[in-house]
């Protein structure tokens, strides 16, 4: 039952991705990209990762669509993009390369341990410690506890990267203004 649901959401994501490539009109493919983000968020939710699902839904379905349309409006490229995408043709070599890469990567999937297997190294030692220690600290959401309390330095690095990326993008865009 769970596998069928996961398969359905991934198939929906694949369908949305193909739709993004196939549509020519910029508002249309922006909305299709939002649908792709929503399908991915549903897949995360089915895989029991609600924090990631929330972030993916807000960023993939909300902000990315708005940014895409903002860029097209800023560069006045609606007509140009629509025309270029209407003339889009996929070469057989490109399709074969993409399919070959996908198959090669997919062939490595059976080598991965089963999802949630308790015998893998992280689940044997580290995860039981987190699960036992986080309630002792008073934090019920173990994911937040790992992010901030146990692995806080990595999260601090992430925040520094987000900050640097935002500042760099703003500086570059300010330099482009007429």
């Amino acid at each position: 039952m769970g596998d069928a649901l996961l398969g359905a959401t991934l198939a929906l994501a694949l369908l949305a991705a193909v739709t993004v490539v196939a549509l020519a009109d910029p508002p249309a493919f922006a909305v299709a990209f939002g649908a792709y983000g929503l399908a991915l968020a549903t897949a995360w939710a089915v895989l029991r990762a609600p924090d990631v699902a929330l972030t993916e839904a807000a960023v993939g379905a909300g902000v990315t669509t708005a940014l895409l349309l903002a860029v097209l409006r800023r560069t006045d490229a609606f007509g140009v993009v629509a025309e270029a995408r209407t003339r889009l043709r996929v070469r057989p070599a490109t399709a074969l390369t993409a399919a070959g890469t996908a198959l090669a990567l997919g062939a490595t999937v059976p080598a991965l341990p089963a999802f949630g297997d308790p015998e893998t190294p992280p689940f044997r030692r580290v995860v039981p410690f987190y699960l036992a220690d986080a309630p002792r600290l008073g934090i019920d959401n173990v994911v937040t506890a790992i992010l901030v309390v146990y692995r806080g330095f990595d999260t601090f690095g992430e925040i520094a990267v987000v900050f640097a990326a935002g500042v760099a993008a703003a500086v570059v865009l300010r330099g482009v203004v007429a």
């Binding site: 924090d51 600290l137 008073g138 934090i139 601090f156 925040i159 987000v162 900050f163 935002g166 703003a170």
Partner: protein, 158 residues
């Protein structure tokens, strides 16, 4: 019109949910990243529906870099604080308050949300904010003036 009215109704609820998600990161699903992106998505949605110029002043978009900096500095401050109480860097249990890990985590979550939201909203407004000024300055032939290229003076054919 429909979009503007709907967004005006939904935005306070969505923003409240974003703040709730940030502050409840320790006891329910959520945390700084989730709450920050939800708040950012709400502001971006408002800018999308109501027009960037109206939203830019209301939300003090020029102050966003200060908000982002305060997030990073706040996180660093909470991380360096335990050194003053005999603990190591980011050893949140060293604060001499009851349940130190929980409250320090909540402060850090707010800092994370501030930086993430400021970065995303700032990126959106940097992308979209000046397109109206560009549109207004288009010449009569419909071409957009390019950076650094002098356009024909308005009084040339007088």
């Amino acid at each position: 019109m429909v979009a503007a009215t709907t967004v005006r109704l939904v935005a306070p609820l969505a923003a409240t949910f974003g703040v709730f998600t940030t502050l409840h990161g320790t006891s329910s699903v959520g945390g700084g990243f989730q709450g920050g992106v939800v708040v950012a998505a709400t502001v971006v949605l408002l800018g999308f529906a109501l027009g960037p110029r109206a939203v830019r002043e209301e939300f003090a978009v020029a102050r966003l870099p200060a908000l982002a900096v305060s997030g990073v500095v706040g996180f660093a401050a909470v991380g360096v604080g335990p050194l003053a109480f005999g603990g190591r860097l980011l050893e949140l249990g060293a604060y001499p308050i009851p349940k130190p890990a929980v409250y320090a985590t909540e402060l850090i979550e707010v800092a994370i949300a501030a930086t993430v939201a400021a970065a995303l909203v700032g990126l959106f407004f940097a992308l979209v904010g000046d397109s109206e000024a560009q549109r207004a300055s288009k010449t009569a032939s419909g071409e957009t003036p390019r950076d650094g290229v002098p356009t024909a003076e308005e009084g040339d054919d007088a």
